[in-house]
Amino acid sequence: MTKSILTKIGLVGLGLSTIAGCGGWDNLNVDSYNHIDKGLWDHDVVATSAGIYARLPVAGELVWVTPDGSSKTVDLQGAETNRIVAAPDGETLLVFGSYPTCDTDDSDIKSIDDCLDFDPERLVWESMVYVVRNGELIASSPIAAHYNALAFTSDGSHAVAYLDFSKADDINFDGLLNLTEVVFIDLVSADTTSVPVGFAADRILFSANDEKAVVLSESKVVVVDLTSSSYDVLVQYALSLDVDDEVRPLDAELTPDGQHCILTVDGSSDLYVLDLENESINIVDLDGAPAALGVESVGDKTALVYQNDAQVDLIEHDYFSVESILLDEPSNNIAVGDGFALLYNVSNSNYHDVYRLDTADSNLVEYRMENPVESMQVAPDGTHAVAVTRPEGASSDPLEAYADQRYGIEVLDLVSDRGAHISQVSNSQPVGVAFSKDSVYALVLLDGLDDLLKINLTTGIAESLDLVDTPMGLGAFGEDGFFITHDSALGLVSFFDPATDTFTPVGGFATGGLFDDERMLVQSTEED
């Protein structure tokens, strides 16, 4: 009897030790369930040279994760993070955010709940853009809420915010919405300047020296001086002489010398060539409406392909004369490397051909993929490309049918003139492809596979490296590293060092602010 009593008392003691934190993880106290309609973190993370940033939708926070295993919440002065974009300098992050205020002088109203109880109509979300470096807020400035896209100068000193309507889930604005402006942002001070550029501007190019911005809008092209503090408009080009004619730019690029802007127009066989120095427009008559264009700097030529025509046009940049080259199959996409344009087709069709067009001598090399191309990436040194191919209708041949029904990875040798390539059937859909900086191998992630495939681009031999958890995405990080996001609710990213094939997993970063209940109002709009 006494022994039984002592046993029971011991059980109570065990419970107390569990409370003290000595218990295991096998018997967590779970007696109910809950549903959350958002992810704790957004796996579309943004990498800078020293770490990655991830949005935390439930907590409304932004977190900075570094390879040393640490993570910290970025203090955005009470703002919630809506969108993040990395600048080309590798250090700067631009954050579109908004903070809550209550339109009242009552000092007792301090939280969102207070304001909602007082009068829901008084709660206002002020949109801001924040400049963040190394996890610290550097500067901030008000910006209209509807801007959802950014273009950066190559030196990362300026950005232009504009509305990309194709990506607009919901356009938020109060009163009137001005669709004829874009906002120039000085990334040092975060000062913003609105510049009228024309209706629905959604393409911005920068000159090679980052002194001019070319803004394309409906029926209009505007050149803006980035060296002036007020972002003066240098010149405007009207793409149509009749206001009833709406000319929508489809694709545009600057020539390597920055003198000309070449643009194609949706549904038109006219190629517009804007002379940015002599302020003139030349229209080149093409055989049809181009599907894509690519400017190649070594040969100093522009390649154009067509959706349904098996033809590529090569245009030199002195007199803009057109050389047409026939293809076996149409291409509707172009990837440009040094000295060549890679032509491929990503339409929902049965085309298998990929072409390498050497722009200097118009040498055309054909590659025949096993399955239609879904995406294409060219290695940094331009010697190889990796195509992800998709399943297609099965052939009658059993082995071909096996390959036809599956995704594939194809490594193209871009040095060979024989169209050499290595085809590999993939077990599942590839979800990420990246290249090592020296272009020796490609890293590939496959859906549902807890391995990272390291493919030697010369031999095609794939090495499998174990991952800590199921991957969701892959990206470049730092000088020569990579990061891998994992399918983990509380946040998990692995930093990969390709020199040593080692992974450094960092987890738990999505828990910041998870139990913060009361969101406080921001009382002032003072800039940092």
């Binding site: 039984s4 934190g21 967590l28 549903h35 959350i36 992810g39 139990f515 209940d517």
Partner: protein
């Protein structure tokens, strides 16, 4: 079945106490079950509602009406959190949030009719609560990297009103006391560092069965 076992345990402990040389007529030991109130929407990740507790308490008479009381109880709360968006990380498994608490309380109780079998009473307690939060997004793997643990303390107090029944059981030569009590408590939040804060406070419920010596 569980309550029966607990009752046996209570009786066993109390019988051990009876055998103690330190017993006195105005000394009581009780097994108690309680509910600690919580506040805030963020408790939904732990299942919402209050925290069930189980523990031991004791009292010593100061005079006919006033008793010094103290108790220690443990409890817990937890939930499996499912992520309903299929495109977010972890939607297949979600994560578990589990909170274990240990509460220490001490205070005074005023028995309005100490000589009666039915005794209305009021109590005032100071409370300290230790919370241990654990998060895990992969229960299948014991070495999951995302096993996150954070502990915090909360301090506060509560006021309660209740009624007790006291009666002798001659066969074991003891007097039993059964109580039920309701009240209200205020306490500081459980501050869980980067995880955020959990509000402790609100309604309190407590029931106990004990023996007087």
């Amino acid at each position: 079945m569980r309550s029966l076992n607990l009752s046996k345990l209570a009786v066993a402990i109390l019988m051990t106490a009876v055998a103690s040389p330190a017993k006195a007529m105005d000394f009581a030991v009780s097994l108690e079950s309680g509910l600690v109130g919580t506040n805030g929407d963020n408790w939904s990740m732990l299942g919402g509602g209050g925290i069930d507790t189980l523990g031991l308490s004791g009292s010593i008479g100061i005079d006919d009406h006033i008793q010094a009381i103290a108790g220690f109880s443990i409890g817990g709360k937890g939930a499996k959190n499912y992520l309903t968006d299929p495109n977010v990380p972890g939607d297949a498994e979600g994560f578990v949030a589990s909170l274990m608490v240990a509460q220490l309380n001490a205070g005074l109780r005023y028995d309005l009719l100490p000589e009666s079998s039915w005794i209305p009473f009021a109590s005032a307690r100071g409370e300290v609560l230790l919370g241990n939060m654990r998060l895990d997004d992969d229960l299948q793997h014991k070495d999951n990297i995302n096993q996150i643990e954070q502990s915090a303390l909360s301090a506060g107090g509560s006021l309660g009103l209740g009624v007790a029944w006291e009666g002798a059981v001659s066969r074991i030569n003891s007097t039993f006391r059964v109580e039920i009590e309701g009240g209200f408590g205020l306490a500081t939040d459980l501050s869980l560092g980067e995880l955020g804060n959990l509000g402790i406070g609100g309604g309190r419920m407590r029931g106990s069965v004990g023996v007087l010596f």
